[in-house]
Amino acid sequence: MKRVGVFVCHCGTNIAAAVDVGEVVDKARLERGVVFSAEYPYMCSEAGQTMIANAVKEHNLTGVVVSACSPRMHEVTFRKAAAKIGLNPYMLEMANIREQCSWIHKDKDDATKKAVSLTSAAVAKVHLNTPLFAGESPVTKRALVIGGGIAGISVALDVADAGYDVDIVESTPGIGGRMAQLDKTFPTLDCSACILTPKMVDAATHDNITLHTYSEVESVEGFVGDFTVTIRKKARSVDMKKCTGCGACYDKCPAKKAPSEFEEGLSNRKAIYIPFAQAVPNVPVIDREQCIKFKTGKCGLCETVCAPGAIDFEQQDELVTQKYGAVIVATGFRPIELGKFGEYAPESKDVLTSLEFERITNAAGPTKGALVRLSDGRKPKSITFIQCVGSRDTTPRGKAYCSKICCMYTAKHAMLVKDKYPDIDVNVYYIDVRSPGKNFDEFYRRAAEEYGVNYIKGQVGKVVDMGDHLVLQAADMLDNRQITARTDMIVLATAIEPLKSTKPIASMLTASIDTNGFMTEAHPKLKPVESPTAGVFLAGACHGPKDIPETVAQAGAAAAKVLGLLSKSKLTTNPCVAAADELACNGCSACESVCPYGAIGYEDRQINDHGVRGNQRLAAVNTALCQGCGACAVTCPSGAMDLLGFSNRQILAEVDALCR
């Protein structure tokens, strides 16, 4: 039997005006196990806390109930006070007789009766409280960034600058990501490469950053502060230490039929290649599917011309295992496949996705920056942009969400075209123009007002390739007329989606993805850069469509969260976690399937059930991952799984007390 003390607060007149505090004190003394009860004007004050401390010592209290304001207000205060005098903080409960009693009930009798009842429930609960101890877990002072685009690079630089080691894993041969493919950026029209390249170099040369390019995450184990990650470094066939980046190999390579990923397939690259001229690292990779040496055994020209002897046809994939305290997912996006959007004639050479158009307008791109039709090399007299291709489309072929970046990059494209070639007729077919960023609407209006881009409200219905020109059919909804228009080039603002690799990465991290495949944040308002899995953070478009400024801002926020984590020497864990009674657990896995955090695993363990020993499949809670929601405790039919601090018995005791 516990020795319980009850402390009732007046909160000035906040409580005392509506509740007969003395009555509560007197009634509390009649409760089972209550050996002391008292009142005080302000229990949260220094004097009030001292009163509690003295009573605990004097009356040898083993449980404390404070009837006062909401526990959301002062539970932490009182629990700290309890800890100071050597009482386990979880042996203290609060009864909320202010927010949920005195402030709302005008009838003093009713309010007093309720305050007595709430106090008795807290007493009933505290009898079943057990001391709980926050666990501790170590923090490895190293972060892993998955994805080497602008999001990943930004996080890595911020974390590395603060003095922690960071590894970047990038699946392609070089870092830079989508931003490296862009020509100009909105809404300032500054050159994408000019602002990105220095960041890439910073990342590559930073003492605290290790790049794993042409690499993938193979497996993840562990939890916040203590992840163990295995990285597969795919065989590059080029020794990174020996290569000087002279480029002789790819100059001489005779296999030149591989479509260039970087150029969106608009031009070809060699079998040995660097993705683009400013690639970081400037070390080529051999595409073994395309390489003549790998296909036929003959050739080896690159090996012959490589002075430092860096070519290594025998190279194998290498597995690297490393410990990390935090993981940042920054896997980015890709445009959707347009195969199912036949009405826009996506197979036509003169119908481009926006990303392809970026490459066409880029001076380093497949046309060396010349704006020409890819079918016949002619300069177009008219260019048409179609918005929302696959975005805001709830049918199975589309994406229900707004891809967010298209309105602005289309304004950018339209403006760039007009700026260079004022004679080209530029039309934009839109459903809505969305421009809520800083300087965004001004930017879009400039395209229309200063540059004379025609904005037509109405989705295009069909595009037909007539050979030497294209014809489109649309409806101008504001003019209420149908349009059949001739044009020379069409650019489709293609919806963007997360990379296919996001899903397996999320499942390795036990982080969740939404119905669209984007990573889910822990809370849409209050934890926007954290994943629901502790220690896993999000940056960039893997979490949802984002433009560059937003991506960098999110990367910064994620970095701050990572630094907050890595700066701790150890982590204290929430003691109100689930725990399984091994004598009752059936090993049925129901709890495992409802756990939002992947905190429950199963292990075969020997148990001793009243002298009977046997191996059993039993649930095991990883207390570092468990957040204490209790979903498992309810799904468990035998009641083996329970939640510390909110156990079945504790809640039932409260119910009993309140229904007396």
Partner: protein, 293 residues
């Protein structure tokens, strides 16, 4: 068929592929064969298979899996769902079971050792095919009783007034003697320690003292097997008071089917049960209970 099963069992025991055979054993009463493990070939003459072999043997496979060697088990189509469900819940070691699917033409309802027609569950049977087996022993000549609407009883009760339903259940449950037969026979009720035997919840009780306890026991039991109950009908079959327990389980199954899409527990060993899954966008709010019908 009985002969085929004996031969099959005999071979399996003889060549050591199986350590034991789980089947139905003859008793003094033809209408009451009982589940039994056979380990010796000589005993197989006692193995029977007929319309009185109603017992679902799946539940016994939990214990069998903890013993050495393979156990041959005879399962009717409906029993295989229980078996699968138990595999899904890691209660049965699939590798240590050799499932012989046997044809079923329905089981007889036995009252005072007399055959009085078909078991209710057989009249509404929807589980005609084995969902798991290593081998099938089929008898095409067996024909099932004509099928009735499985949810007919639930629907009729739903159509009554609230008070009428209450009175119906009072009538049913007040006869409960808390013999625990329903719980003991139920393959899903395999908890090592039932909450009703646990001192932790103030729910342990040998006999019902008030009407509430009957309700509590049967509500919680139905709820604990929700989404896991294959509707094998064993609980109703063994109830000495003939309480229509199947109605509780079927009510939940019907709700699940209507609200979350058709679901049959034990159909496979992977699909998440309806209470351990959700659909964020389409799930009904609990208020649907207040607004419908």
């Amino acid at each position: 068929m009985q002969e085929q099963l004996r031969i099959l069992a005999g071979k399996m025991l003889a060549d050591g592929r199986a350590a034991r055979v789980l089947g139905w054993k003859r008793t003094d009463f033809e209408t009451a064969p009982e589940p039994s493990f056979f380990t010796a070939q000589d005993d197989l003459s006692e193995l029977v298979y007929n319309k009185y072999c109603a017992a679902n043997l799946s539940g016994f496979m939990i214990g069998a899996g903890k013993r050495d060697g393979v156990t041959v088990v005879f399962l009717k189509p409906c029993d295989t769902y229980s078996f699968n469900q138990l595999v899904k819940e890691h209660q049965i070691d699939r590798a240590k079971a050799y499932v012989v699917g046997v044809s079923c033409g329905g089981n007889a309802k036995v009252e005072e050792m007399e055959d009085v027609g078909w078991l209710e569950r057989c009249l509404v049977c929807t589980k005609h095919d084995h969902v798991v087996y290593d081998e099938l022993v089929l008898d095409e000549s067996l024909s099932r009783p004509e099928a009735q609407d499985r949810f007919g009883g639930v629907t009729r009760l739903e159509g009554l007034q609230s008070l009428e339903r209450y009175e119906f259940w009072q009538g049913e449950l007040s006869t409960c003697i808390r013999c625990n037969a329903c719980r003991n026979v139920c393959p899903a009720c395999n908890c090592k320690k039932c909450v009703f035997d646990s001192a932790k919840y103030d729910t342990a009780a040998k006999a019902n003292v008030t009407t509430f306890e009957e309700q509590l026991f049967h509500i919680i039991r139905a709820y604990h097997v929700a989404g896991r109950c294959t509707d094998c009908g064993e609980c109703a079959r063994v109830c000495p008071q003939d309480i229509k327990l199947q109605l509780l389980n079927r009510k939940i199954i019907k709700d699940i089917n209507e609200l979350y899409g058709e679901f049959q527990a034990g159909q496979d060993t992977e699909t998440l049960g309806p209470l351990t899954a959700f659909n964020a966008d389409t799930d009904a709010e609990p208020s649907i209970v207040h607004t419908r019908g």
